[in-house]
C-alpha cells in the first residue's frame, strides 16, 4: 500500500504547483486584493480550464470525479500561494453541497465547473459560534413558496456569488438538528441585502440580511427539514480542505523563514547559526510535518467511500485541530524570526500569518474540534 499519491494525483499536484508558481506571484495578489472585485475573473476562468472547479464533480457533470484527496491537493496550492479567488466558498462549500443534495443538480454543477456560476454558503449566524445546527433564520411557508427572514454572518464570497445557498429553519427549535432546510437563492432576490467587507486576510465576505425573501419550493436543495446531514458532511470536507490550505501556507512560511535564517546576518554571522533560533525553526518544522500527516490521512479517509462515518468525523476534527494549533505556532514564530521585517505589510510573512489565523477561526477552531473529537465515540479499529 502506498500512502503517497497516485500517478494522476501526482500530475495534478505538479500542475497546481506549476500554474500557481507562474501565474500567481505575490505582487499580483497584492493588486487583486486592492481591486474592487477582490480577485481575478481571468484566473477563475483558468481554474475552470484546468478542471479545478469541477474537481470533485462527477464526470457526467463535466467534472474530474475526484475526491477529498484531489480537493486537498488544490487547497494546499491555494494555501501555499495565498490564493484569494473564492474557491473555498464556490467549489468546496457550494459544489460540495450541490453534490450532496442529489443528482438532479448536475446541470448546475456543470455550469459551476465551467466557471459560469459562483456560489456562497449563507449558513452561520451571529449567535451560532461554531454550532452547525444553530439556525434562527426562518422560512415561513406561503403556498408553493417560502418567505425567508434572518441574518447570516460572515458569508464568504457573497458579493461575487450568483446564488446564495441559505439555510433556514422550516421546523424545530433553534439549535435543533432537524428542521433545517437549504434554499438556492439568487443574489438579486428582493428583500436580500448585503453588507460586504474585506476580511483581515484580504478576502471578501458579507453580512447577509433576509427580509421576507420569497423562494419557490423548487429551489430547495435536498430534503425539506433535512439539511443537517448535508451540512455536516460538507463541513467535514470543509475542515479537511482548510487543513490542507493551512498546511500549504505553513510550508510557504517555513521555506521563507528557513531562507531568512540562512541569509540574514547579525553580529557578523547568519542568524540561523544561533541555536536558540534553530530550535524554534525545528519546532515549526515538526508542527508542520505532524499537521501535514494528519491532514493527508484525513483526506484519504474522507476520499474512501468505505470509510465509517465515525472515522470521517474524528479524522476531520483531528486534522483541523492540528492545522489550527500548528498554524498558530508556525505563523507566530515566522513573524518573530523575521524580526521587524516580519511586522511589515511588504513581506508576505504577515499575510500568511493572518490567513492561518483566519483559517483557525473558520468552521470551528482547534478547541472546538478537540471537544468534538473527545465526544465522538471511537469506531472499533
Amino acid at each position: 500500500m502506498d500512502f503517497s499519491l497516485s500517478e494522476e494525483q501526482r500530475l495534478l499536484a505538479e500542475s497546481v504547483a506549476r500554474f500557481l508558481e507562474k501565474e500567481y506571484p505575490f505582487e499580483k495578489r497584492r493588486a487583486l486584493i486592492a481591486s474592487e472585485l477582490g480577485f481575478s475573473r481571468d484566473v477563475w476562468r483558468q481554474f475552470a480550464e484546468l478542471g479545478w472547479l469541477g474537481i470533485g464533480s462527477p464526470e457526467e457533470a463535466g467534472g474530474l470525479g475526484g475526491g477529498a484527496v484531489e480537493s486537498a491537493i488544490v487547497m494546499e496550492g491555494i494555501g501555499r500561494h495565498l490564493v484569494v479567488e473564492p474557491y473555498f466558498s464556490t467549489v468546496i462549500l457550494g459544489a460540495g453541497l450541490l453534490r450532496q443534495a442529489g443528482p438532479k443538480l448536475a446541470p448546475l454543477l456543470a455550469e459551476l465547473g465551467e466557471g459560469r456560476l459562483m456560489l456562497a454558503l449563507a449558513h452561520t449566524e451571529p449567535k451560532a459560534r461554531f454550532d452547525l445546527a444553530h439556525v434562527e433564520t426562518r422560512a415561513e411557508r406561503a403556498g408553493g413558496s417560502f418567505k425567508l427572514s434572518g441574518h447570516k454572518a460572515v458569508v464568504l464570497g457573497a458579493a461575487s456569488a450568483d446564488h446564495l445557498i441559505v439555510s433556514a429553519r422550516t421546523s424545530g427549535a433553534v439549535a435543533e438538528a432537524a428542521g433545517i432546510t437549504l434554499f438556492l437563492v439568487p443574489k438579486s432576490a428582493g428583500g436580500l441585502s448585503l453588507l460586504p467587507y474585506r476580511t483581515a486576510c484580504g478576502q471578501r465576505a458579507a453580512e447577509v440580511k433576509l427580509a421576507g425573501v420569497v423562494v419557490e419550493a423548487g429551489q430547495i436543495l435536498g430534503a425539506l427539514d433535512g439539511a443537517a446531514v448535508l451540512l455536516e458532511r460538507t463541513a467535514e470536507e470543509a475542515l479537511v480542505a482548510l487543513a490542507a490550505e493551512a498546511v500549504g501556507a505553513m510550508a510557504a512560511l517555513l521555506a521563507m523563514t528557513r531562507e531568512y535564517l540562512k541569509t540574514r546576518k547579525q553580529f557578523g554571522v547568519p542568524i540561523g547559526s544561533f541555536q536558540v533560533l534553530q530550535h524554534r525553526l525545528v519546532d515549526m518544522f515538526m508542527a508542520h510535518e505532524l499537521a501535514r500527516s494528519t491532514s493527508e490521512a484525513a483526506a484519504r479517509v474522507l476520499g474512501d467511500a468505505a470509510s465509517l462515518a465515525a472515522d470521517r468525523a474524528r479524522m476531520a476534527a483531528a486534522a483541523k485541530v492540528q492545522a489550527g494549533r500548528a498554524g498558530r505556532l508556525v505563523g507566530q514564530e515566522a513573524v518573530q524570526l523575521h524580526g521587524g521585517m516580519g511586522m511589515t505589510d511588504e513581506l508576505a510573512v504577515g499575510h500568511y500569518f493572518k490567513r492561518l489565523t483566519m483559517i483557525d477561526a473558520m468552521f470551528g477552531n482547534a478547541d472546538h474540534h478537540q471537544r468534538r473529537f473527545a465526544e465522538l465515540e471511537a469506531a472499533p479499529a
Partner: protein, 398 residues
Amino acid sequence: MRVQLDSAHTAFRDEVRRFLDASVPRDIRDKVEAGKRLGKEDHVVWQRILHRKGWLAPGWPVEHGGTGWGPLKRAIFEAELGATPAPPVIAFGVTMVGPVIIAFGNAAQKKRYLPRILASEDWWCQGYSEPEAGSDLAALKTRAEPEGDHYIVNGSKTWTTYAQYADMIFCLVRTAGAGKKQESISFLLIDMRSPGIAVTPIVTMDGGAEVNTVFFDDVRVPKANLIGEEGKGWTYAKYLLAHERTGIARVGLSTRLLAKLKRIAAQELSRGRPLGEDPEFRAKIAAVEIDLLALEATVLRIASTQGAGKPPGPESSILKIKGSLVQQALTELLTEAIGVYALPYQPEWFEPGWNGEPVGPDYAPSLASHYFNWRKVSIYGGSNEIQRNIIAKHMLGF
C-alpha cells in the same frame, strides 16, 4: 491503529494482533499490565516466543532471520507489538548492534553473534556515554591500546541500561589516529565477563536501578572483536541511529498507555462524576490523543515513502522528539488521574512475589514512579535538544 490501512494491511495487522494477543504468558501479561518490575527472565521468555514465530527481528535481512517485510508492514508490526502487554524487546541486540554487525561485521562475527541475539543467548548493552561525554559523545575517552592481537581497554561507560544482565557490550572506544575527534573512534564488542570489568548501579529518582556505570580496568579484548575498520566507529554508530527509523516513535506503547488512561479516568471520580467526563481532563486526553494520531500518521507516511537507498533525513529525530513528548504527556496524565493516590510510595509492591494489599486502587501504585522514570525518554538516545540540532543541520546546513 486508527489511521486507515488498505485491506491487505488490515489483514496483516489482524494476524499480528491475534498472534501477539494469544502468545503472552499470563503471569508476564499480569506484571506488565499492573506495572510491576520485570526480571531478565521475563524478557527472555517473551523474546524467545517471538523468535520461534520468526518475528523477533523483522527488519533484518531474510538470510539472517528477518521477515522480508517492507517498512510499512514493519511499522504496523512495531505498533502492534508495542501495544501488546508484554515486555519490550530489548533493543540493544536486535535493533542496535545486530544491524551494525549485519552491515559492517565480518563473516565470523555474523556467524557467532546474530544467532545468539535471535535466541536471546546473549544479552547486549550499549557502551556509548561516558561521565565526561554525554551529548558531546565524540569526546569519549575510553581508550583501546593495541597489544599483540588484543586491545587493552581502560575507561568507563555510564547510563548503561541493564549492564547487570548483559553478556556483551558494544562500545565506542578511542583508538590511534589524528585529525577530527570522530576519526579515532572504533566500534568494539566486549565480553562482560572479561576480567577488569566492574558494574556499579545508579539508582534513579523512581527508586529503580536499571542504569549503571561500567568500569574498564586493563580489560583484554581480542582484536577479532573490532567491527569493520579502526577509526570508523563513528560512522557505524551514525548508521545505527538512522536505522529502524520508525520504531523510535513508540506508537504502540502510547496506544496502550492511552487506553489505560481512559480506563482509569472512567473509574476515578471528580466531583461525583467520572474523571473522564470532567471537561478539563477530557480536553487534556483529547489533546494527547490527537497528537498521537498525528504521530501515527507521520510514522505511516514515513514508512510508506521510505525507499531503499534513500539517504536518511531528519525523520527519526522528528519521531524521537514527538514520540517522547506524547509518552511523557501520557505518564503525566496517568499520575494526575489518580489524584492523592499518587503519593504513597510502595517499593515492595514492585517486587515479584509480593502479595500484600496495596494502598489505594490496584492500578495506582506504579503510576507516579512510571512518570518519574519516563522523564528519561527525552534525554536518552540523544536528548531532544540534540535531535533538534540534527534537524536544524538538515534544514540550514549550519
